[in-house]
Amino acid sequence: MIMKTDSGLNFLDQIVKATAFLLLIFLPLGMYYWTVNNTLALFSGGIWGVINFMFISAITKLVLSPNNSDKIKALKLGIIKFPLLYLAGYFLLSVPQFEAIYLTLGFSSLFAVLILWSLGSLLVPSNWNAKVKDSEVVT
């Protein structure tokens, strides 16, 4: 029996890609119109948050997936994630040019994208694209 386990998990990949895209767009604009240090702090915090989310997602999928559960790989990822990411966070917080508030803002950007994406999918009906295509065919 083949079970589909990836329904809904594409949503997480889309969130990660959208946040990374948003951060990449923000980087040159922020450096030009805002201060370089604050932009870099926000960008680094955002990348830190995205990598953290990717690790959490990968570990959870490996542990909880009913078909291809691989606990050894999950343990290896956990061993990599916790020291590496927390050390990176410590390093970012100890850089005197980076303000902690902008690092935190960048870290939270993924959650902002997540909330806006969820709000968008709640407000826009799921068959909206199909309706638009139908109306294009009729007209």
Binding site: L9, L12, N52, S65, P66, T104, L110
Partner: protein, 78 residues
């Protein structure tokens, strides 16, 4: 007792409480998710999505506590 001494006592206690809270929260979330996947394996994708988002939010709260710790840490010894 001056505010620096209170900070020195309160900050580690605060971060510790945040870590304990997130540990309890994550444990509850993962336990419930495993229970739900065991009952309904077909819905594992949707359950995992919700769980991953919840786990990320819970961990973010601990990291916020850590950031506050680093922000206030400099005031202890000054």
């Amino acid at each position: 007792m001056d505010y620096q001494a209170m900070l020195a006592i309160g900050l580690p206690i605060g971060v510790g409480l945040a870590a304990i809270g997130s540990g309890i929260g994550l444990g509850g979330a993962v336990g419930s998710a495993m229970d739900a996947i065991g009952r309904n394996p077909e819905a594992s994708g949707k359950i995992m999505t919700s769980m991953i988002i919840g786990a990320a939010l819970i961990e973010a709260l601990t990291i916020y506590a850590l950031v506050v710790f680093f922000m206030l840490q400099g005031h202890i010894g000054s």
